[in-house]
């Protein structure tokens, strides 16, 4: 058993691509090994800013021999065909065996293919991997035609301790690599993975990203603990920083006190966004005048110069931020609204000013459903986007909304309006906090519904994996806002109203998609998003489909109440039986309708019920159907279900005693109508045909 060690040394690999690249290297190489019939015990890949590495343990030094049986031509085939087969396999006729098969008598031959030396198979495998490597972006360099994420500098490839000769352009494989760029630039020769890893560590390169991550977190904690402070570890920042260093060295710097009165979000964003620094908080959770930077070196002065340099950069950044903060507050948000005509919302959907005006109108309408003063909702919606033209948000787009809140408060807007502005992008995804204050909910919904209807109008719906405008997230946002705040909102009506908010210049699109069609289609999209959302919470998606497909439900809260009642009912003994009976009835009717070419949806002839069981089923249905309809209309879903439960006994009895397909054609037709009626009665609650089980 032997070990394969591979390292691809290059110039700095973008941090965001590293984890995926390590996975891809492992996948592509092990796929190649498997395809060649080479088994192994374990494969692990590693990535640092400058290297991608792979070690595969327990590989055989030879490919296994393969015995393969091949069928040749028929014994009576033309001579030419037989000779061709022999030649193609390097055989003589006496090595072949005649065998009779159901298709006739054929020549057969058993070919033994000797396994190749594993090392000989590796160069091609490597080459294939290198050619197809799925970098999000790759480049050319110098005069060579090769592509890689950044210029390639070395290939280390050892199999069973020996160099596997391979090359990319002029770069040939060796048994050596180099250490840290500054601290250990010398060449390091290695014989196997253990040595590779250890020697790299001695040369100031920690190969394992996980170890580097832990080192950074540990060092940062140690530094802050000394001052009774805590570092705020932001995992995505930590992952990024881990990808920027081979030899991490966390350092703590000071933030000039004069900047500490800037909003916290501004400080943390300026640190994170431009400088990739971690924030530090005191025991009360308040931002401390410290930051943690992670260097990729161990400086000879213990990092004093590096800290001083970083502090100076941060001062410049914060001076910028302070300038923006002071400038921005010289103008009110209100005065900025008109300027939103210079910010595109979407080319075909006009400017953000257009959007803000539509949102203001829509927020007024929504205020009715969230139970809030319409003037308040309109005001917040009108100002919600105004911070987009502030210098702070132009510089730090991720502060949109947050800055709007600060600036609104500075303008003397009410706290409610300010909070609604801050909150209106939420919730962004299933795990994000969902607004609950009524104004916030109205504005947050207005923003999203406007986008959805607009993009639907110009036919920019999400397709497959493509959702450039994050419309799935917007729809989920609306769903969460409605469901978690238990709001009763008629979505179809709302979509149609918003459709009317778009100006006549969109007539072209409008003639393509009429309002009612668009509203319906968008509601179906909501149904899909709702299913995905609830699947994670364990709600059966078939029940949502069953209720949604009736087409009469666009109130999500009511819909969920109905789904819940249905789920409880189906879990009961009555429900389970009734579902079975429903399926049986629907099946029979479908089969017979197809056979006869007749639809049995006419009223049942009450005077033509021969058996007691049919009469009692008929009576049961006549009694239950209006009760179900009334209960549903009054949103008493449990009552609707108990009306359904009452049908179980007559339905079961009917199937026990009555033969549907009897000889008397009149009776048969009437019985089929009766069965069809079951479908109708149950259809008042849900489309049972969509229910699984």
């Amino acid at each position: 058993m032997a070990e394969l060690l591979l390292e691809i040394l290059s110039e700095e690999i973008p941090a965001r691509m590293q984890a995926r690249a390590a996975d891809d290297l492992k996948r592509l190489m092990t796929d190649g090994l498997k395809k060649a019939g080479l088994t192994f015990e374990d494969a692990r890949s590693f990535v640092t800013p400058r290297r991608l590495a792979l070690v595969v343990d327990g590989l055989p030094v030879n490919q296994p021999d393969v015995t393969e049986e091949r069928r040749g031509p028929r014994v009576d085939a033309p001579e030419q065909a037989i000779q061709g087969f022999l030649k193609g396999n390097g055989l003589t006729l006496d090595q072949c065996e005649k065998r009779t098969t159901p298709k006739g008598e054929f020549y057969f031959v058993v070919v033994e293919r000797k396994g190749q030396v594993t090392a000989d198979l590796l160069p091609e495998m490597f080459n294939d991997m290198f050619q197809v490597f799925p970098w999000p972006k790759s480049m050319r360099w110098g005069t060579g035609g090769q592509r890689w994420v950044r210029p390639l500098h070395g290939i280390l490839c050892l199999f069973d301790g020996a160099v596997v000769p391979m090359a990319v352009g002029s770069t040939k494989s060796t048994n050596s690599t180099i250490g840290h760029r500054v601290l250990a630039p010398g060449v390091i020769g290695v014989n196997d993975f253990a040595e590779y890893r250890d020697k790299l560590e001695n040369a100031q390169v920690i190969l394992d990203a996980d170890e580097r991550r832990k080192a950074i977190a540990g060092q940062a904690e140690k530094l802050t603990k000394k001052e009774k402070l805590t570092v705020k570890i932001d995992n995505s920042l930590l992952a990024e920083v881990t990808g920027l260093v081979e030899w991490p060295m966390a350092l703590m710097g000071r933030i000039d006190e004069v900047f500490m009165d800037l909003p916290e979000e501004v400080l943390t964003t300026a640190m994170r966004h431009h400088q990739k620094y971690f924030s530090v908080v005191d025991a009360k959770g308040k931002l401390a005048p410290r930051f943690i930077a992670v260097a990729n070196t161990e400086a000879t002065d213990d990092g004093k110069a590096i800290i001083a340099g970083n502090e100076r950069v941060l001062r410049a950044r914060l001076a910028d931020a302070r300038y923006f903060w002071d400038q921005d507050r010289k103008r009110t948000l209100e005065s900025r609204v008109a300027g939103l005509d210079g910010v595109v919302f979407q080319q075909r959907l006009g400017s953000v000013l257009d959007k803000a005006e539509r949102m203001a109108k829509l927020a007024r309408t929504l205020a009715e459903y969230t139970g809030v003063d319409p003037d308040l909702a309109e005001r917040a919606a009108r100002l919600a986007k105004a911070d987009l033209t502030t210098e702070m948000v132009v510089e730090f787009p991720e502060l949109q909304g947050v800055m709007g809140r600060y600036y609104a408060l500075a303008d003397g807007e009410t706290a409610e309006v300010a909070e609604a502005i801050a909150d209106h992008y939420a919730p962004q995804g299933p795990a994000d906090r969902c607004p609950s204050a009524s104004v916030n909910v109205a504005v947050a919904m207005a923003d999203k519904i406007d986008s959805l209807v607009g993009f639907w109008m110009i036919d920019e719906k999400p397709t497959g994996s493509k959702d450039p405008f994050a419309l799935r997230r917007s729809a989920l946002g609306v769903i969460r806002l409605i469901v978690e705040n238990e709001l009763s909102v008629p979505l179809l009506e709302l979509f149609t109203a918003v459709y009317g908010f778009f100006p006549p210049s969109y007539n072209k699109e409008r003639s393509v998609i009429p309002a009612d069609v668009l509203a319906r289609d968008l509601l179906d999209f909501f149904a899909d998003r709702l299913k995905v959302h609830l699947r994670d919470k364990g709600v059966r998606h078939d029940l949502i489909t069953a209720v949604f497909s009736l087409g009469d439900e666009d109130d999500l809260v009511r819909l969920l109440a109905r789904v819940e009642a249905l789920e409880t009912f189906l879990a009961s003994d009555d429900g389970e039986h009734l579902l079975v009976a429903y399926k049986r009835a629907a099946n029979i009717v479908a089969i017979e309708e197809k056979k006869d070419g007749v639809i049995y949806d006419q009223p049942v002839d009450a005077g033509n019920l021969a058996d007691a069981e049919e009469a009692s089923l008929h009576a049961g249905l006549e009694e239950a159907a209006p009760r179900i309809a009334k209960a549903v209309a009054e949103e008493r879903f449990a009552d609707a279900m108990s009306a359904l439960a009452g049908l179980r006994a007559p339905v079961d009895a009917f199937f026990d005693k009555v033969t549907v397909n009897c000889d008397d054609q009149t009776l048969r037709a009437n019985r089929l109508r009766l069965l069809s009626r079951i479908r109708g009665a149950l259809g008042g609650v849900a489309d049972f045909s969509k229910i699984e089980g």
Partner: protein, 299 residues
């Protein structure tokens, strides 16, 4: 905070040091292009020379203008006129990164004391139809250089690939001199009483006046008209047989700057903006193609 004047770290000595270093690497040391450009990349020594197969190495300072970045001289870090030091090596050598790091050492940046990092930053110029992959180089958290392997220029593939280093001279000097305000930079390394000048002495008034011009007083109608004229002239020069790519390219540069000025004046609507960029790109593309033909490397 004002730095003690020092001839070794003065702004001008920094430029001289870079020129010496890159001259030793076989670069032709050029002077700035005598037109308003947004970045050193616009100099024909980069835009045009990165195309085609002929090797090329050049280094030069390029004053760069970004009208929208003006702050009336009030902001310690933002300028509407600043200096870039531009290096172009074609084809990009295998030791591009090492050469670059040596240049920092040459400026007195000791790698043993500082943290140099290469942070992903791909570059794209929609007006030039150009793109490249590379990094911003950080020194102790400060971005000091844009390091780019050109992949495309004027919409055409670069083959061989050239590497471009764009040093932000003010930032680099602020870093080396340890000053927080660009206007405090020591320009010539002399004490004040012996004729010492700061960056502010040289440029502060210009920043104030040009900010006012860029944001308030540029006659937008005239600027828009000049744009059209430059565009028409560029087209006419490219339509000649044979075309005149170098004068045509000057008109393209002019159009690009005029567009930036209009943009700073805030008179360009959003849809219009995209259209302007496309117009400049079309000019740049035409010039690049004509240049290649003139080099006997027709498209």
């Amino acid at each position: 905070m004002t730095a003690a004047p020092d001839k070794k770290t003065s702004f001008q000595s920094l430029i001289l040091a870079l020129q010496t270093f890159w001259a030793d690497q076989g670069c032709v040391v050029l002077q700035p292009y005598d037109m308003e450009v947004g970045a050193g990349t616009f100099h024909p020594a980069t835009t045009l020379r990165v195309l085609g197969t002929k090797p090329w190495r050049a280094a030069y300072v390029q004053p760069s203008r970004r009208p929208a970045d003006g702050r009336y001289g009030d902001n310690p870090n933002r300028l509407q006129h600043y200096y870039q030091f531009q290096v172009i090596l074609k084809p990009s050598p295998d030791d591009s990164q090492d050469l670059y790091l040596q240049s920092l050492r040459h400026l007195g940046i000791d790698e043993g004391l500082h943290d140099i990092r290469f942070v992903e930053d791909d570059w794209e110029s929609p007006t030039l139809g150009a793109s490249g992959l590379g990094w911003e180089v950080w020194c102790d958290g400060m971005e000091v250089t844009q390091f780019t392997y050109f992949q495309q220029m004027g919409g055409m593939e670069c083959d061989p690939v050239a590497v471009e280093f764009t040093y932000g001279l003010e930032r680099l000097a602020m870093y080396i001199q340890g000053v927080d305000n660009v206007y405090d930079l020591d320009w010539n390394g002399l004490p004040k009483d012996q004729g010492g000048l700061t960056y502010g002495d040289v440029f502060h008034q210009a920043e104030k006046e040009f900010s006012a011009y860029n944001f308030e007083h540029a006659n937008t109608e005239a600027v828009a008209r000049h744009f059209k004229d430059a565009e028409a002239q560029c087209g006419a020069l490219l339509a000649l047989t044979p075309p005149l790519p170098l004068p045509a390219y000057e008109q393209c540069i002019k159009a690009s700057h005029l567009f930036n000025l209009l943009d700073a004046r805030g008179v360009i609507g959003v849809a219009e903006r995209a259209a302007y960029i496309a117009r400049v790109r079309a000019l740049a593309k035409g010039c690049c193609e004509a240049w290649l033909v003139s080099q006997g490397e027709g498209v």
